[in-house]
């Protein structure tokens, strides 16, 4: 195969995206578990670990720019590198949401939550399912899967709206719990945004495969 070294480097970059995706996916899942347990030590660890995510993001960006500068990528290769630049940013932001939930855990403290966590873990599970499949679609250049995954973001939004309504209803009864209600709403909002970022990743998969800039989150 011609351009053996370049092709190998592109493959390496895709592997790095998978590795970054795995890091943030793991962090987001752990953050919601730690929230349920009010685990301050885990929260501190998540906040620290976000620095590794940031370092990997910069390394991937550096590799992308180096390949753009030295390898003159064209057509599909160029779209792939442009997509990697965007996807790495989206993943880094999802990492920030995990770190954000870590900070919320520290604010909540050891006191019991205002209500047991039910819908937030469901939201997290749905986002992680979408994220893992979006990265799979990226590696396999699967445009149909990217469209289908993006459509599932409605489930995340529905759960968020339900949580919002529940919390507002709770506050009407117990307005003195405003701060603690607000923390839970932030955590849910972080997950909702992680879902939106995953949709953005799907848009980049579509661009990579078809060359079309398509907005998938139009609701």
């Amino acid at each position: 195969m011609p351009r053996v070294v370049f092709v190998r480097e592109l493959g390496f970059l895709q592997d790095e995206i998978l590795a970054l995706g795995s890091m943030v996916s793991q962090a987001l899942g752990e953050s919601v578990i730690a929230l349920g347990e009010r685990n301050a030590a885990k929260a501190q660890e998540l906040i620290q670990r976000d620095q590794e995510v940031n370092r990997k993001r910069y390394a991937i960006e550096g590799d992308c720019l180096r390949l753009m500068a030295t390898q003159q990528p064209m057509a599909g290769d160029l779209r792939l590198l442009a997509s990697v630049l965007e996807i790495t940013t989206e993943l880094e932001r999802i990492g920030d949401y995990a770190k954000g939930i870590g900070r919320i855990i520290l604010l909540v403290g050891p006191e019991p939550l205002m209500k047991p966590l039910v819908d937030i873990p469901l939201m997290c599970e749905q986002v992680l399912k979408m994220l893992d499949r979006a990265l799979d679609a990226f590696i396999h250049q699967d445009a149909d899967a990217a469209r289908a995954i993006a459509a599932e973001d409605d489930l995340v939004d529905d759960l968020y709206n339900k949580i919002y309504r529940d919390i507002i209803g709770f506050l009407v009864e117990k307005p003195q719990l405003f701060d603690r209600a607000n923390y839970l709403l932030w955590a849910a909002h972080n997950l909702e945004r992680a879902g939106d970022r995953t949709v953005n990743i799907c848009e980049r998969v579509l661009f990579n495969v078809t060359g079309q800039m398509t907005e998938l989150d139009v609701t």
Partner: protein, 276 residues
């Protein structure tokens, strides 16, 4: 393929003993100045070429990059008015020292030129010839096959080894010249615009081959094609000319750095097309 890097230079009897340390670099220049008669062609080149890496030399026409390349195996000796000052160290030894045999230098530091120049002989003889006149004692058939495989040409020519080399395409002829160069087991291969006469696909094949060869050899390539230098090399030297038309090296560093964040504004201007 096994290449012995630490062979001492062939010397005349009165030469000093070889250095214990063969030099950290494949080629190292100290205060290299090159003149054609009274014309100061290149000034003060200080360059350290890493072993088993690809080093590219780029720059505008007349900047002296080919002149410097030809100094690395004393090809400039063949130009009567050419002379040099300073040192060119190969494995720690100055190849311009009185005791050094220039023919041996050219055997150890091979060269591939811009235009493929096969001999008007068979494909087989093109590869076998250089090794034979250098007193090769082993199995010539094996050596020819090994060299042609090393140049990624074997599969295309194995059934027509006795046919004329002139019947090959331009890209194949250039790879034959590379096979001929590696047949004598050099340590360094100098390439002067090796792909500039080839179409884009043949060019990419030569570039892939260079990267394969760099596992065993040090490669120094002069190219007008800046993108080629970016694609293929590990290190890049940028040369320019001053108002007296004397060439000089502006910047030398890892290729990634030269093409993403050069240190010198003149390099930035050249690689972004603002100059030259």
């Amino acid at each position: 393929m096994t290449i012995t890097l630490e062979r001492p230079m062939v010397r005349r009897k009165e030469s000093p003993a070889p250095q214990a340390n063969g030099g950290q670099y494949a080629i190292e220049t100290n205060g290299l100045n090159i003149y054609y008669g009274a014309f100061h062609a290149v000034r003060n080149v200080e360059m350290k070429v890493a072993r088993r890496k690809i080093t590219a030399m780029i720059g505008p026409s007349g900047c002296g990059k080919s002149t410097v390349l030809r100094c690395f195996n004393r090809m400039n000796d063949l130009i009567p008015s050419a002379r040099i000052e300073g040192e060119v160290l190969f494995q720690g030894e100055n190849i311009y020292a009185d005791y050094v045999d220039s023919v041996e230098v050219r055997r150890r530091i091979g060269m591939v030129f811009q235009k493929a120049n096969p001999f008007p002989k068979s494909i087989y003889d093109n590869v076998a010839w250089g090794a034979r006149i250098n007193g090769f004692k082993g199995n010539v058939d094996n050596m020819v096959e090994r060299s042609l495989r090393g140049a990624a040409l074997w599969d295309e020519v194995k059934d027509k080894l006795q046919q004329s080399a002139l019947g090959l395409s331009g890209g194949q002829q250039q790879r034959l010249c590379i096979a001929r160069a590696i047949a004598v087991e050099p340590e360094i291969i100098l390439m002067d615009e090796p792909a500039s006469a080839l179409d884009p696909i043949a060019t990419l094949r030569i570039e892939d081959l260079m990267q394969e060869l760099a596992k065993d050899y040090t490669i120094i390539v002069v190219t007008h094609n800046m993108q080629q230098a970016a694609r293929v090399s590990d290190f890049t030297a940028f040369f320019s000319v001053d108002e007296q038309r004397t060439g000089h090296m502006v910047e030398f560093g890892p290729t990634d750095q030269i093409f993403t964040n050069p240190s010198d504004q003149r390099t930035e201007d050249y690689i972004t097309g603002r100059f030259g």
